[in-house]
């Protein structure tokens, strides 16, 4: 397994380099260093000299990918790409174009993202599995039918509607929780109730139907028939046998998203004023802060690769038949 993991890490390098180059090229197709300077310097009294000074101070006066003005290896080294993007491989995110330490910002902002994403995932998982099990348990009854209809309705509505509707009904009309906001430490709990509730409700339609499918697939298996034949009750069959076997795809599906929980949710964070990493990225795009965009794309890629690796490893843990080689 060690060799497998090592190989996967080595594969990751060219992948991350590719992502890095792609982000770099895409960003600079849309924005020139002059644009970035103007964005940072504001809209008034910005002279060409001020733009040049800004670029010089931050190293954006260099050519993008190849410096024809110098010789040898400096052709590559004295470029914006080399000086700005390659340091990421050492997880040195550097300073943002507005002058803040990106690493420190990421450390600060990942916790609010996680505070919303983790309970949403755990509670959502429990609710989805419970609803799916209920549908399977009461299959072919009015309860299953009405729950499926409800799930389809829930799936058909935009997540934005749940956010605005949730804020309006729970926060404004019923006045049970704050409409939006965030606080540090334990004071955060009352701000998390509504976003987590909305995340769970908006996801229950698709989630419960997906798990129901998994459970129904299992329930037709021979071992279930055997379990019933030896006299187990329907609940015993469902909870002791079906649930256990259906957990393999559920678990692997969850493991892959675990590292990405740090990256946050753009819409939820924006509407609830949660200072997480989702809003960090979009703010950086809006302010043309390339340093942050590049860092966040890199971080996202690394976390996704880790997620896929963890999924592979989790297969071997939950299914003894799978071996990594």
């Amino acid at each position: 397994m060690f060799n497998y993991i090592l190989r996967r890490f080595l594969y990751a390098f060219p992948l991350l380099l590719g992502v890095n180059i792609l982000t770099f090229v895409l960003f600079f197709i849309v924005n020139s260093p002059d644009d970035m300077a103007r964005m940072q310097l504001g809209q008034k009294h910005v002279t060409e000299q001020a733009v040049e000074n800004w670029k010089q101070q931050r190293g954006y006066h260099l050519p993008l990918l190849i410096n024809q003005g110098v010789a040898g290896v400096n052709k590559i080294k004295e470029t914006i790409f080399y000086q700005k993007s390659l340091r990421l491989f050492a997880f040195d995110f550097g300073i943002s174009d507005s002058g803040r330490n990106i690493g420190a910002d990421i450390q600060q902002r990942m916790w609010p993202s996680l505070a919303v994403a983790l309970p949403s995932l755990v509670v959502g998982l429990l609710v989805n599995i419970s609803v799916a099990l209920m549908m399977v348990l009461f299959r072919q009854s009015y309860l299953e039918f009405s729950t499926i209809v409800l799930c389809v309705i829930i799936m058909s509505i935009s997540s934005l509607f749940y956010i605005i509707g949730g804020q309006f009904i729970v926060g404004k009309l019923l006045m049970l929780v704050p409409i939006s906001g965030y606080d540090t430490g334990l004071n955060a709990y009352k701000f998390l109730i509504l976003p987590v509730l909305i995340s769970v409700v908006s996801g229950v339609g698709a989630g419960a139907r997906w798990y129901r499918t998994l459970f129904l697939e299992e329930i037709e298996q021979d071992y279930v028939r055997t379990a019933r034949a030896k006299g187990l009750t329907e609940t015993q069959v469902l909870f002791k046998h079906v649930l256990k076997n259906a957990m393999i795809p559920i678990l692997t599906g969850v493991v892959v998203v675990l590292p990405l929980l740090f990256m946050g949710s753009l819409i939820t964070e924006s509407f609830f004023s949660i200072p997480g990493l989702g809003s960090y990225t979009i703010d950086a795009i809006n302010s043309q802060d390339f340093a942050i965009v590049r860092a966040m794309v890199f971080l996202g890629s690394v976390l996704y690769i880790i997620g896929l690796l963890l999924t592979d490893i989790s297969y071997t843990l939950v299914d003894p038949r799978v071996r990594l080689s």
């Binding site: 924005n31 020139s32 002059d34 644009d35 103007r38 964005m39 940072q40 310097l41 504001g42 008034k44 009294h45 002279t47 060409e48 000299q49 001020a50 000074n53 800004w54 101070q57 300073i95 507005s98 002058g99 803040r100 330490n101 420190a104 600060q108 609010p112 348990l137 009461f138 009854s141 009015y142 309860l143 009405s146 605005i164 804020q167 926060g171 404004k172 009309l173 019923l174 006045m175 049970l176 929780v177 704050p178 409409i179 939006s180 906001g181 606080d183 540090t184 004071n187 009352k190 009750t233 329907e234 924006s270 509407f271 004023s273 200072p275 809003s279 960090y280 703010d283 302010s287 043309q288």
Partner: protein, 713 residues
């Protein structure tokens, strides 16, 4: 089953008990033991980029640093027209004019004789900086934190983690230090290049410190800015520049102790985002207690704040409005100001209605809910807002949005009568009254020239109208009929929008940086305005960067842009049309590249004059030239509309002052009562939903149990 009912009972009991409690459930603030503390609750939608007074140049940043840093002068809170008064300065500056041999000239000497103007500024003694670790010293009089080690920094993540703070008296050297900072390349001040044109020696100073750290500023002298003694300093300005006094009322010229640069230049602090750009050090009424621009920013009353008092006089009518009730009282009134990050309008508005924010603007979504037009066309509050005791405040902003014609363009530009008539026809056709009604909910005033209301040179009534676009109907300005515009088009050789030389339809190009989906309706409206004249308009929407590049290269024909005043002087608007500021030729702010010798001559004359009837006369002549030539379609002066709760006092619009917080007063007791009244939780829908779930599930459970107990028959 019993356990389920027990749990339900527990949840409902908790909710019921919570509801009975005085503490509301939806408060976004932690319960405080200091209930009677006067705390202002406000918000910011975009995190401030800079809090360094040398860098900061936008209103959302001034909302903070305006309360923390104190330049030498400030705008009087109540008097109109806007009037400057000393803030950290002891009196208004003494201005000495000098010739090229540095001989002192008389006050009334001709402007062209003046080579330099010396501004001698005397500051008040006994002003102290806020408590700050940069100023902390040990018993040996050495700075405690100017050479921090990694070990010292181990437990420090925030500025507040430093255990010791210190202060010292403000001196003239601190003002000089800040002027030096304006040109340090690491700081990138937006006004560096502008100020180099005015302050003697600043350009050369910038070059001399180019490769030096910020800590070297203290010991590097600058020729045009000089410390005269502990409380006096001198700034030498090239020529005569009366508007310089307005710059001295902006945070760019607020004092900065050299210790701030010495402290914040340490890499160990920069690595933890503890920088001067984020952690200010000033003498103002407030200091930044918490700076988490991702969440909230909290300002506390500065315990070292010097004596400052609420104004004793204002303009007529202020006393009747209660604006002088606090006259002569010690400032500031508010103990703490909490600004929370709030990106979306809807939650912000709802929290304002719940009493969790003390003030709010009015977004389009909530306009009808909040504001209505009264019988005489004025804005008023709806009944629902009046019932809540909310106060409305409106003010025409000192800004203008306009449609500009590139005067270098062969079709719409130039000094020909043909082009002038075409521009005037378009000026009549673009119906800004309709625009204000449709897209701004009536929150704007159609512009008659470049100068907004409340700025010297603005005239109201019949004498203030643009006679080429409006007529006076005895009561108000009335846009000229479209027939007049069509007539002008015919005279220009474009009858019905057909170019008589080519016999083809006239096609013009409108450049704009408004490219979002929300802008489509607005751009379509503009298309229709041109279509009234038979002109086909091609809209070239792009992002702001591309737009700026086009303007710089002169590649736009017609475009939309705007300007917000730096200071209340007509020069700050006329310079947008001054020939030497032409964007293509000189990279200046004259985006239409307008050149008119007489206008330029008058500009030079008026920009060196103090406000006087003579200056007013020149201003009127300049306005007439602009109206005649029509390089702009004078668009709109937007109107700001703000709502304030009843517990908010001393409200008066002041669009120039950045330091209004110290004058404001909050009644926390009234707010507490109203919040409790407005936020009583409603629980019955929760009980109903739980009941419905039980009713839905119970028969299915019973049926399942029944089925499970069935035996094969």
């Amino acid at each position: 089953m019993t356990s389920i009912f027990k749990s339900l009972f527990f949840i409902l009991s908790y909710l019921s008990l919570s509801a009975c409690n005085e503490q509301v459930l939806n408060s976004p603030y932690p319960a405080s033991s200091k209930e009677n503390q006067a705390v202002l609750y406000s918000s910011f939608s975009e995190r401030p980029r800079h809090l360094d007074p040398a860098k900061s140049y936008s209103s959302n940043e001034y909302a903070f640093i305006g309360q923390i840093y104190e330049p030498p002068f400030q705008y009087h809170f109540l008097k109109r027209p806007y009037e400057l008064e000393p803030l950290t300065a002891a009196k208004m500056p003494e201005v000495i004019y000098l010739d090229s041999s540095e001989r002192v000239l008389a006050k009334d000497v001709a402007t062209d004789k003046i080579a330099y103007s010396d501004y001698i500024i005397e500051i008040k003694p006994q002003i102290k900086f806020q408590p700050h670790p940069a100023l902390a010293k040990n018993k040996q009089d050495e700075y405690l934190y100017h050479q921090l080690s990694e070990i010292q920094m181990a437990d420090i993540t925030l500025l507040s983690d430093f255990t010791q703070t210190g202060t010292r008296e403000l001196t003239a050297a601190d003002f000089v230090h800040q002027i030096k900072r304006l040109v340090h390349p690491q700081i990138s001040s937006p006004i560096a290049e502008l100020m180099k044109q005015y302050i003697v020696g600043l350009g050369g100073y910038g070059l001399s410190i180019k490769d030096k750290p910020r800590t070297a500023l203290k010991d590097t002298a600058i020729s045009g800015v000089e410390v005269l003694d502990k409380y006096r300093y001198k700034i030498r300005v090239k020529g005569k520049y009366p508007q310089f006094i307005y710059w001295l009322a902006m945070p760019f010229f607020a004092p900065m102790p050299w210790e701030a640069d010495a402290f914040y230049s340490q890499q160990v602090l920069i690595d933890k985002n503890i920088t001067l750009d984020w952690q200010p050090l000033g003498t103002g009424p407030y200091m930044l207690e918490e700076n988490n621009p991702n969440l909230r920013m909290v300002m506390l009353k500065n315990p070292n704040y010097h004596d400052a008092f609420y104004p004793l006089e204002g303009e007529p009518g202020d006393k009747d409005k209660g604006l002088l009730n606090d006259a002569g009282k010690q400032l500031p009134f508010i103990d703490k100001a909490v600004y929370k990050l709030e990106k979306e309008n809807i939650p912000y508005w709802n929290k304002f209605l719940q009493g969790y924010y003390d003030a709010s603007g009015v977004a389009s979504d909530s306009f009808d809910q909040a504001v209505q037009f009264t019988g005489d066309g004025e804005l008023g509050l709806t009944q629902a807002m009046q019932d809540k005791g909310i106060q409305l405040q409106t003010a025409v902003t000192s800004s203008i949005s306009f449609v500009g014609f590139n005067m270098l363009d062969a079709v719409v530009g130039g000094d020909s009568e043909r082009a002038r008539k075409l521009r005037r026809a378009i000026s009549i056709a673009i119906d800004y009254e309709e625009y204000i009604s449709i897209f701004m909910n009536g929150r704007g005033v159609a512009a008659q020239g470049v100068i907004p209301p409340e700025i010297f040179g603005f005239s109201s009534g019949e004498q203030g109208i643009n006679p080429y676009v409006y007529e006076w109907d005895g009561n108000k300005a009335q846009r000229k009929p479209l027939a007049d515009a069509l007539q002008l088009m015919a005279e220009a050789g474009y009858a019905n929008g057909i170019d008589k030389n080519t016999s083809e339809a006239l096609i013009l190009y409108l450049d704009t940086a408004a490219s979002g989906p929300d802008e489509r309706a607005r751009l379509n409206w503009f298309r229709k305005q041109f279509a009234k004249l038979g002109i086909q308009i091609v809209i070239r929407a792009t992002d702001y960067n591309r737009f700026q590049q086009k303007m710089l290269n002169g590649n736009a024909q017609i475009f939309m842009w705007g300007w917000n005043a730096d200071y209340p002087d007509p020069e700050n608007f006329f310079f947008l049309l001054y020939g030497a500021n032409a964007k293509v030729l000189h990279g200046g702010e004259n985006a239409v590249n307008y050149q008119n010798k007489e206008f330029d001559r008058l500009y030079k004359l008026m920009s060196n004059m103090e406000n006087s009837p003579e200056r007013l006369g020149i201003t009127q002549r300049m306005l007439e030239i602009l109206r005649y030539d029509a390089p702009w379609v004078f668009g709109v002066h937007p109107k700001s509309v703000s709502l304030y709760h009843g517990w908010y006092h001393n409200l008066k619009p002041n669009l120039m002052a950045n330091n209004k917080l110290k004058y404001l007063r909050i009644d926390p007791q009234q707010r507490k009562i109203m919040r409790q009244q407005w936020n009583k939780p409603i629980l019955w829908p929760i009980i109903l939903i739980i009941g419905l779930i039980v009713v839905l599930v119970l028969p299915a459970v019973r049926s399942f149990q029944h089925r499970a107990q069935e035996t094969i028959k």
